[in-house]
């Protein structure tokens, strides 16, 4: 028996199939190793941008456009990092410096993340004032919020 579909129906089936597969893959949980790798890459990029802010703000007359780009990246990261530590992506899933305390002390961890997301915008604000001293001191404050979290929730380098 042959079932014949009209051209419209075939298109509709094709579209529906594509969409459902897309939805399926979008919802599929990512492997923990991938999450860890992505997280590592995010922080690597953040380190790079942090260095850029530091290097640029050495000058008394820095490139404020470049500074703003890097500061914006820092702000974005401070918001996005809330998504970077899903359950199951800790030391049990493979080599990571993320400590189990992240998941056993969620309130403290959230507070540490909040310190970063609260302070990151002050860096961007400082850049927009075009006052290099303000940028330098905001950089220090944001850096201290990084260190604050790392001291408790990241294992020391080996």
């Amino acid at each position: 028996m042959h079932v014949r579909f009209s051209r419209k129906a075939r298109s509709a089936i094709a579209i529906m199939t594509t969409l459902s597969f897309t939805a399926l893959y979008a919802d599929a949980p990512t492997a923990p190793a991938e999450v860890q790798k992505a997280r590592h890459d995010h922080y690597h990029e953040l380190g790079e941008q942090f260095k850029a802010v530091r290097d640029l703000s050495r000058s008394s007359n820095p490139d404020f456009a470049a500074l703003e780009k890097s500061a914006q990246h820092v702000v974005n990261a401070s918001i996005d990092q809330g998504q970077w530590f899903p359950k199951g992506s800790g030391p049990e899933a493979g080599k990571t410096r993320a400590l189990a305390e992240i998941w056993t002390k969620p309130a403290e961890f959230e507070a540490a993340q909040k310190m970063f997301s609260d302070r990151a915008p002050t860096l961007l604000t400082a850049v927009k004032t075009k006052e290099v001293n303000a940028v330098r001191s905001a950089f220090k404050e944001v850096g201290a919020s990084c260190k604050n979290c790392h001291d408790t929730f990241r294992s020391p380098e080996d």
């Binding site: 922080y43 380190g47 790079e48 942090f50 260095k51 050495r58 990084c146």
Partner: protein
């Protein structure tokens, strides 16, 4: 009470003050650098590194302009002299023996390399960094930091070897090298054939100023005011 020292044994002055001061400051600052890095106090780690850089620069200057016993031309010997010394156990010079010279050179080269790596190093977060790190990329700065970490182990082993060799002389050859490096004098059977020429204090002061200025410029990221 009479002195028991045999009249033939003379206490000869061999190490000048700058050489001794540099030596013992290195002995204090290397552990300080280790400890400040270990405890995450990178601000003091940088200060300790700057002092070490100044000391090494001064010692290099002193190796060319200092007292004869501190000069590289006086004590750096080729493999033949080192082997000859190993066989006979006696050196022509009253200062560093040919084997000790290797220790001095190895430690100075390692220290200078270690300090240079530190100048370009960047921490994993891009927050803490050496004063010349803005000349290199994040990746290159990270690589310097990793080599800085690895080379420290080599430095520790070399220092261990140096201390081991000194203890060997103290215990088995009854030569108190540690005391000599503290008070500058050494018991010799006779006066050395070629007496040690001591450099003037003015020369040391000039070297000190040169080393300090150079270090200060490096610490500022090679930018002149």
């Amino acid at each position: 009470m009479t002195e028991n020292i045999a009249p033939s044994v003379a206490r000869v002055r061999i190490w000048d003050v700058p050489t001794r001061v540099v030596h013992w400051l290195l002995a204090v600052l290397i552990p300080t650098s280790w400890w400040t890095a270990e405890s995450g106090n990178l601000e003091f780690h940088r200060y300790s590194g700057y002092l070490l850089l100044g000391l090494v620069l001064f010692r290099l200057y002193w190796g060319f302009a200092g007292s004869s016993s501190a000069r590289f031309t006086d004590f750096v010997k080729g493999p033949r002299a080192i082997l000859g010394y190993l066989r006979s156990g006696s050196a022509a010079s009253t200062g560093h023996n040919p084997l000790g010279a290797l220790s001095v050179i190895a430690l100075l080269v390692l220290l200078l390399t270690q300090i240079t790596l530190g100048l370009f190093a960047v921490d994993v977060d891009g927050i803490e960094s050496g004063p010349l790190s803005h000349y290199v990329s994040f990746e290159a700065g990270r690589a310097c930091a990793e080599w800085h970490d690895t080379l420290f182990d080599v430095l520790v082993w070399t220092i261990g070897l140096h201390i081991g060799a000194v203890l060997f002389y103290v215990i088995f050859k009854k030569q108190n090298l540690i005391g000599a490096m503290m008070h500058g004098r050494r018991a010799c059977a006779q006066q050395p054939e070629t007496p040690i020429q001591f450099a003037s204090a003015a020369r040391a002061i000039i070297g000190g100023i040169l080393a300090a200025v150079l270090t200060w410029i490096v610490a500022r990221g090679l930018e002149l005011p």
